[in-house]
């Protein structure tokens, strides 16, 4: 008698297995049971159905005629409830009991639903089957949808709905999209493409609750308090192998149903294929390995020898216009090297990870035409030593085209602003060149571009080079670091004009040659981004030098120094007592009066920092930022309070300035001095900004220094009131923040742009500069010590203490 084969689940894996059995004419009496009310269809094509590029009819893989022809009995829309392995029967939900000789589990996976409050409201769905797809398609334009999960499924759902006019927001818990398949740079490009499709993307966002109204979803609440209204909420955060039935039947089950290389479960009459299995510790979420499993299972059923081997996998996203590809292992690691290629003009990013002369991983964005070739290299472990130099350009370019450093500039649109001072766009410069201007001088004369502060000179020259080709040779300018060919000034201008608000954005658009920068460009970029986009950009402690990361100065023996603020050099007996107590309590070896009118506690252990800060905070003191490229000290003299020559309240002004500028990050450190009269006891004329009080008002001068170079300040302006003085000083500080190169003190910056330019700008734009400064200060004017004590004190402790472990 023909043996009876029962197959549970009409999914992608069992579909392929049945095809193989039928084609080989296997001698089985087959019954196919499926919970979904339909037969096998191409589940992965649900996304094109959702976006309207395909219809459901087009993605059916096996229709009724096929089953009839193949002589397969079908039971669709019917779940298997139990399996009795002793009796060798399965029991269906409708009560029917069917006997088997061989049984195959192909039950797939269940979408994982985060158990947030409200996850059981109507309108909260997963993305797994045709019913889910239909729910999304029914939504229609002018509705709002939130998708939780920025992985493959979530993004396909989002793009599909966006294509139908739905207002979609993607909420992703990680820092960049598809973090398991993509690195940051590719994640950035993907995000940009989705934004262009009108999709809102929120990364590093934590969902806290789903809000409902009359039993139906109304909004998603994030843990920062943001409410995202929605009519439908799709959770696409992952899948779990569907093992319940197998587990109840007593089969060996771990994360999935355990199978061996022949796809046999712990019961020799039962096989399993697809996402429900666990093979050699691995579970599966893409179809390629499932097809291999399906073939092996069919062969095992036909008693032919076969072995399932896990292979390299690759991922593509099925969203029109987002060409990305990732394969293999693209993490950094021992003995691994990166080859990175970026073509900002075309939005292309490619990264290959090489080990032992083989490609072991690849991430590509923008141009994935060669992805199969690269995937072949990974799969076949091809030795690439002979083509290493040109490898990254793909198979067609084995002759090699050099990377074009001007691509970024060539890619700029005509309305990209090049010269910020004079509001000159790239198009105007191109027009001037067309009208005959052939060098920088001519451009300056005809358009005024680069004629003011000059920081855009590099870009103007690059526009010349791009437009004139070989007729223009760019004078060599020092690039920011080995990671890029662009100068600090060029990069800064790109950040502003192209609205680059994250480091991966800068790396991509400015053609960085390393995956994630170096200790010389990262701190600079971190400053530029936070100065230019105070609201959008999140400060990155990992791109700061240790002193700024830990808010204390590291000493040569790895201890730290702690300097609390003494506003304007004024202190009180109780502050001094608290400092003395702290010095005793934390056994501070050295207490020193600094050159900046305050007290330094030197030699504090890293682990004690949060505790000593907390004590100083309790006595009303805050961080003195003695470690920062930011506001350091405002040195004052006693002024009218006590001195017989004092003309204005220099101490009071110093305190006001320190309190208002405190917390501001600047290109280099910023020191101020306020003297009560021209005798200048506060040495104001060798500070970055110096104020000398006179009878008629306040003389504000800038560009002093008394370190490696000694410079006297030069007069910026004289103002009549204290209020004016504070406004001018905020304005000049902001102008410095917005324009100077990282690590230029004011005097160095002034030597480049000229005092006259600074004077003009401060005079013309004082209030706007002050406004931007204040906006930034709403975020940065705070005490980092209190912050760290509260939120990350444990970061200062060892990650683990194994002293005891080893003693055992």
């Amino acid at each position: 008698m023909t043996k009876k084969l029962i197959v549970i689940g009409a999914g992608m894996a069992t579909g392929r297995m049945l095809e193989t059995l039928v084609e080989a004419g296997a001698e089985y009496d087959i019954t196919l049971i499926n919970g979904e009310p339909r037969g096998n269809y191409n589940r992965i094509m649900l996304s094109p159905v959702l976006s309207g590029e395909k219809t459901y009819a087009e993605i059916i893989t096996h229709d009724d005629a096929w089953y009839t022809e193949a002589n397969i009995t079908t039971r669709f829309g019917c779940f298997v409830d139990t399996v009795d392995r002793d009796a060798k029967t399965v029991k269906l939900h409708n009560g029917e009991v069917l006997p088997y000789d061989k049984l195959v589990f192909g039950t797939g996976s269940n979408p994982f639903m985060i158990p947030l409050p409200g996850h059981d409201l109507d309108g909260v769905i997963a993305y797994r089957d045709l019913e889910d797809t239909q729910r999304m398609m029914d939504l229609g334009p002018d509705h709002k949808c939130v998708v939780i999960g920025g992985g493959l499924l979530g993004l396909e759902a989002a793009a599909g709905m966006a294509a139908r006019g739905v207002d979609v927001t993607v909420v992703h818990i990680m820092g960049h999209l598809m973090e398991r398949q993509l690195d940051e740079a590719a994640g950035y490009l993907l995000r940009r493409a989705l934004l262009d499709k009108g999709i809102t993307v929120k990364c590093s966002a934590n969902s806290s609750e789903i809000l409902g109204e009359d039993g139906h979803v109304r909004a998603l609440l994030l843990d920062d308090g943001t409410e995202l209204p929605c009519d439908l909420l799709v959770m696409a955060v992952g899948i779990r192998p569907n093992v319940k039935l197998a587990q109840d039947a007593g089969l060996a089950v771990g994360k999935g149903i355990h199978v061996d290389d022949q796809m046999l479960t712990s019961d020799a009459n039962i096989l399993a294929v697809g996402e429900c299995v666990e093979h050699d510790g691995a579970i599966f979420g893409l179809v390629a390995p499932l097809y291999d499993q399906a073939k092996v299972a069919a062969q095992t059923l036909m008693e032919q020898p076969a072995i399932f081997v896990q292979k390299e996998l690759s991922t593509k996203l099925k969203v029109t216009g987002c060409d990305l590809f990732s394969a293999g292992d693209f993490a950094d690691g021992e003995g691994r090297e990166d080859i990175v290629f970026r073509d900002p003009a075309r939005g292309v990013y490619r990264r290959l990870v090489i080990m032992d002369n083989m490609v072991i991983g690849a991430v590509m964005y923008g141009d994935t035409a060669d992805s199969n070739w690269f995937f072949g290299l990974i799969r076949d472990k091809t030795d690439i030593s002979d083509m290493r130099d040109t490898l990254i350009f793909g198979p067609a370019y084995q002759g090699g085209t050099p990377l074009d450093p001007l691509a970024a500039v060539a890619a700029l649109p005509r309305d990209a602003e090049i010269c910020g001072c004079n509001g000159i766009c790239k198009g105007q410069i191109e027009d001037a060149i067309a009208a005959g201007a052939s060098d920088l001088g001519a451009i300056k004369a005809t358009t005024k571009a680069s004629a003011s502060c000059g920081t855009c000179t590099g870009l103007v020259e690059q526009v010349l080079a791009v437009t004139l080709g070989d007729d223009f040779i760019i004078p060599a300018a020092a690039s920011m670091c080995g990671c890029t060919d662009m100068t600090h000034e060029d990069v800064r201008r790109m950040i502003k004009s192209q609205r680059l608000t994250s480091m991966p954005a800068v790396w991509q658009e400015c053609g960085w040659k390393t995956p994630d920068g170096c200790p010389s460009c990262r701190p600079a970029l971190n400053f530029y981004l936070l100065a230019d986009w105070p609201l959008e950009y999140q400060d990155d402690p990992q791109s700061r030098f240790i002193n700024e990361r830990k808010h204390a100065n590291i000493q040569k023996d790895g201890t730290y120094s702690v300097v609390p603020r003494m506003w304007g050099g004024i202190t009180t007996p109780s502050e001094l007592r608290a400092i003395a107590d702290a010095a005793d309590k934390y056994m501070v070896p050295t207490v020193k009066v600094t050159g900046g009118q305050r007290i330094d506690l030197l030699g504090v252990k890293g682990e004690d920092l949060p505790a000593i800060w907390s004590d100083l905070n309790a006595a009303g003191m805050v961080s003195g930022y003695a470690y920062s490229k930011g506001l350091r000290t405002v040195k004052t003299c006693v002024g009218t309070d006590h001195c017989r020559f004092g003309t204005q309240d220099s101490t009071g002004l110093g305190i006001k300035l320190e309190k208002t500028l405190h917390g501001a990050w600047t290109p280099h450190k910023l020191k101020l001095g306020v003297s009560g009269c021209p005798r200048n006891c506060a040495e104001a004329t060798c500070k970055d900004i110096g104020i000398v009080c006179v009878d008629s008002g306040y003389q504000i001068s800038i560009g002093g220094a008394a370190g490696m170079d000694v410079k006297e300040t030069e007069l910026l302006c004289q103002v009549p009131t204290e209020e004016d003085a504070i406004l001018v000083i905020k304005a000049i500080t902001q102008l410095y923040r917005e324009n100077a190169k990282y690590l230029d003190r004011i005097y160095k910056w002034m030597a480049k742009v000229g005092l006259d330019w600074i004077k003009d700008r401060v005079a013309a734009e004082r209030d706007a500069l002050v406004e931007r400064f204040e906006l930034s200060q709403t975020i940065y004017r705070h005490d980092p010590w209190a912050d760290h004590v509260q939120k990350q004190a444990d970061r200062y402790q060892p990650l683990a203490n194994l002293s005891l472990e080893a003693a055992e």
């Binding site: 940051e184 993490a331 950094d332 990262r522």
Partner: protein
């Protein structure tokens, strides 16, 4: 046989960051790169024993906070013109946890 000790969850170290762990024979720095690889090295720069855990992590290197030597996280070797090397220890991530090789501790106590 490698005997792995569970140290801490991976997220206790920020990407491109490091934390220090104490052992009876000095401190070991555990690094996490941008793509979630972990490395364990002696927390003492071959130059003047600078605390490497406080450096800036870039690619698979760290730059020492004291005088900017660049140390490879993979080999412990100083890069470029500088010469020197710090000991490295097997480390890996499994199920979101950082694991270190127990034998390294013993090797250290034996030394």
């Amino acid at each position: 046989m490698t005997d792995w000790i569970d140290i801490a969850p991976l997220e206790d170290i920020p990407p491109r960051g490091a934390r220090m762990i104490k052992t009876p024979l000095g401190c070991v720095a555990v690094f996490r790169t941008a793509d979630d690889q972990v490395f364990a090295l002696d927390n003492a720069c071959p130059h003047k024993a600078g605390p490497l855990a406080e450096g800036i992590v870039h690619g698979t290197s760290v730059t020492c906070p004291l005088h900017n030597w660049v140390i490879s996280l993979e080999t412990g070797e100083a890069q470029g013109a500088d010469e020197g090397r710090v000991a490295t220890y097997p480390a890996r991530v499994d199920g979101g946890r950082i694991l270190l090789d127990r034998t390294f501790l013993q090797a250290r106590s034996a030394a």
